[in-house]
């Protein structure tokens, strides 16, 4: 394919739009994200292809494999367009009925529709489901709408229009001015103003500069970046190219976790297609501007999400951070001026260029503008990827979009910001989403992982969990992080084992303070946050562990007796059925009994018991 001109681009857009919005063609949008692949969407797609063929519907029905739709827990998902009928948990056996009823008879198949967890009613249209209704897709505007492996689909949704505008009409100063007006802040978590970052790098002297994209999404509970890369890889490429024009760089790298193989595959396809169209590579759109992007796969080190460590890793070294200054905008990758932005940040850029910075800043709070993508997971009914305007309350996120707590249990906390963040308790749920607002209550916005925890979660155990993570991922370069987090972990383990002493809590607080003040990089400086927020809001649980030697949530094995309370036991036998070690005796209408000799303390019975009768 020869290089495109602007006219060609407009032509492709019109043509593809014509096909994709033709009301006479039904489009079956089958989700092809990692989640749906794992639950069997590939087989469902195959069944769709066969059934459409069999019924002779190929002319009027098109099957499109999209990227992540966002509603991951209910996969495999299928959306029938243009009607917007939303099907969940499909199996290949369901397909003949679905095609017959939905396509030929034009009546939705009731049993395969989404069931609202609160009202127990089936809902047919995607837009009527509360999970989708409260969202505002900007970074995710193409999710579920396009085939990520087809560049024409992206172009039909105004893709690469921004590049034309930027390369033909805008100067680097104009780009940076638009970014500054948009007030877009780094979506990786730190929230540094993107326009300012680009401005520093633009003013840095040097012929070689780099644009880097951080796709090393390591926070446990975060999968926003992966979903964007899987659903809409071209928008990230376009965003990076615009950044390159702004700072005058000719080379870019996407540093992606090696675990994200599907994202890497789709990125490779996208880069190849963009190059074929002349939208990437030498002399882009005949404007004389060169920009090339390579993918660099990480090798499993959490600390490489830190900017200076990430650059060392691309250089082929141990991914250890170094002190700043010098900042990467002056001396970054291979000591050259570099900018590093997160996937979500870049994916917002093309639209800002098309619609303007003022448009982007029209929603949000005073200091946090635009929208933010969250990965909602844990003990919540609706699990998946959501994008909300800044200023939305956490309560709305958990209860309106998330549909509340699963299995009729009670809300305990929502964890934001992963191992650098904190847990927000019930009474602070009306806090609006925004960098400063969330920081004020002891958590951080972070990259967007939001893990909801119910009353069965032990907050001391969670604090231990995060410290274990940090300790394991600490690179070992600076002593406060390497030794300090180890010491904190040892103390937390001691408390979880029922051997805690009152002074342990004071020690934890003191160590937190010292590590925060003296660690080299962000990973260490924020390492104590989960512990501090747990101590602040769930102090009673620490006291129960240390003073009463009791774990109120019944998660810390050392403090459990593995006995059954005959008053609470409803004699249902669920524990008996779940025990893998035959340690439970039970007969109908009799209280169950645990044989402690046989018990392997696997916790299966604790999980199964609906009445909290085991202690």
């Amino acid at each position: 394919m020869s290089k495109l001109t602007l006219n060609d681009l407009t032509k492709i857009r019109k043509q593809t739009q014509g096909i994709n919005t033709n009301p006479n063609i039904t489009r079956l949008m089958i989700c092809g994200g990692t989640g749906c692949h794992a639950t069997g969407s590939i087989k469902v797609k195959q069944a769709l292809v066969e059934e459409i063929e069999k019924k002779g519907l190929s002319d009027t029905v098109k099957i499109v494999e999209t990227g992540c739709n966002g509603f991951c827990a209910l996969g495999p998902l299928l959306v029938v367009q243009p009607e917007g009928i939303f099907y969940v948990k499909l199996k290949s056996e369901d397909i003949p009925e679905l095609i017959q009823e939905q396509i030929i008879n034009n009546t939705p198949v009731e049993r395969l529709l989404f069931k609202d967890p609160a009202t127990k009613k089936r809902i047919a249209k995607q837009d009527d489901i509360s999970f989708f209704a409260h969202q505002m897709p900007r970074a995710l505007r193409n999710k579920g709408q396009i085939d990520p492996e087809k560049i024409d689909d992206y172009i039909a949704r105004d893709g690469y229009i921004a590049i034309v505008k930027v390369l033909k009409e805008m100067k680097p100063d104009d780009i940076i001015k638009e970014m500054t007006t948009s007030s877009l802040r780094g979506r990786g978590g730190a929230g540094f103003p993107t326009g300012m970052k680009w401005d520093f790098a633009r003013k840095s002297e040097g012929e070689t500069k780099y644009v880097l994209c951080n796709a090393d999404e390591g926070d446990p509970g975060a999968f926003m970046d992966r979903s964007i890369l899987e659903a809409d890889p071209h928008c990230v490429l376009e965003g990076m190219t615009i950044a390159a024009k702004a700072i005058n760089a000719n080379k870019g790298y996407i540093y992606c976790r090696t675990e994200y193989q599907l994202a890497i595959k789709r990125l490779k396809i996208a880069i190849k297609q963009a190059k074929e169209y002349g939208l990437l590579g030498k002399n882009i759109l005949n404007t004389g501007f060169d920009f090339d992007i390579d993918i660099y796969q990480g090798a499993g080190a959490f600390v490489c999400g830190e900017e200076t460590a990430l650059m060392r890793s691309i250089e082929g070294k141990r991914g250890m951070p170094r002190p700043r200054p010098p900042f990467p905008a002056h001396k970054g990758l291979w000591e050259k001026p570099s900018i590093l932005n997160n996937v979500e940040t870049f994916s917002n850029v093309p639209q800002i260029m098309i619609k303007g910075g003022d448009w982007y800043a029209s929603v949000g709070t005073e200091k946090s503008k635009g929208t933010k993508v969250f990965a909602l997971s844990g003990d919540v009914n609706n699990i998946g990827l959501v994008e909300v305007p800044m200023g939305t309350t956490l309560r709305s996120l958990v209860f309106d979009i998330g549909g509340g707590i699963a299995k009729k249990r009670k809300f305990k906390a929502v964890q934001l910001g992963g191992p650098s963040g904190g847990s927000v308790p019930e009474h602070l749920l009306d806090t609006p989403v925004g960098y400063e607002e969330i920081a004020k209550i002891g958590a951080i916005m972070g990259s967007g992982g939001a893990i909801v925890m119910d009353d069965k979660t032990c907050m001391v155990d969670m604090a231990r969990f995060f410290m274990d993570f940090i300790q394991d991922e600490s690179c070992g370069k600076c002593t406060p992080c390497r030794e300090g987090t180890l010491r904190m972990l040892q103390i937390l383990e001691k408390i979880c084992e029922g051997k805690g002493e009152p002074r342990d809590i004071k020690d934890l607080e003191e160590l937190s303070h010292v590590i925060h003040q003296s660690a080299l990089c962000g990973l260490g400086q924020t390492a104590a946050n989960p512990v501090l927020s747990a101590l602040k809001y769930f102090r009673n649980e620490f006291d129960a562990h240390v003073i009463d030697k009791r774990c109120p949530a019944k998660r810390c094995i050392a403090m459990l007796k593995f006995e059954i309370d005959p008053d609470l036991c409803k004699k249902c036998g669920l524990c008996f059925k779940s025990c893998p070690a035959d340690a439970i005796t039970w007969k109908k209408k009799e209280v169950a009994l645990i044989d402690k000799e046989k018990c392997i303390k696997c916790m299966s019975c604790f999980d199964k018991c609906q009445f909290d009768a085991i202690f």
């Binding site: 794992a38 090696t258 990480g298 090798a299 691309i314 082929g316 699990i383 992963g418």
Partner: protein, 164 residues
């Protein structure tokens, strides 16, 4: 071709050596490519014996100590042989909250296997990995290339039966 003498190693066949040479040759002049080379070589041999690390270092004209330093830094690289099937159990927050600990206990008990270890018959290796980013399916386990979502202590052994 790379002209260094190939050390003898039981786990590396002649075909593997040829593939390793191609990987080194392709990346030799790209700065920063060592992690890519190590990853691709590990995919060929299934782990990185010290002899191979030295060979790669020589081929890439890098100090052996530096390359060993890179290998030991990143959790992707393994100095020990792995089983035919690697079970990667996700220990991210969402999976943890939803009970991955019980699943790990069950696997360890059933196969007499410890985290980071391999069964004696080299059938399974067990790795606890950081968030796989499939939180919607939590708790999650990946065996080889297959992702298993919503696993529980009760059904995990059954899911593993097919991997011989």
């Amino acid at each position: 071709m790379t002209c260094f003498i190939k050390p003898h190693h039981d786990d590396i066949t002649q075909t593997m050596w040829q593939k390793i040479d191609i990987v080194i040759e392709t990346n030799k002049y790209t700065s920063g490519a060592i992690i890519t080379v190590l990853r691709e070589c590990q995919e060929i041999v299934n782990y990185l014996p010290v002899e191979l690390i030295d060979y790669i270092a020589d081929g890439m004209s890098l100090p052996r100590s530096e390359v060993f330093g890179v290998v030991s830094f990143y959790s992707l690289f393994s100095l020990k042989p792995k089983g035919r099937h690697t079970i990667k159990v996700c220990t991210g927050t969402a999976c943890y909250v939803k009970g991955i600990r019980e699943v790990i206990n069950r696997i360890e008990g059933e196969f007499d296997l410890k985290e980071g270890g391999t069964t004696e018959d080299r059938r399974f290796s067990l790795e606890c990995v950081r968030c796989l980013g499939a939180c919607g399916l939590a708790p999650v386990m990946v065996v080889g290339e297959d992702t298993h979502g919503d696993i529980a202590a009760e059904n995990v052994i059954k899911s593993l039966e097919d991997y011989k």
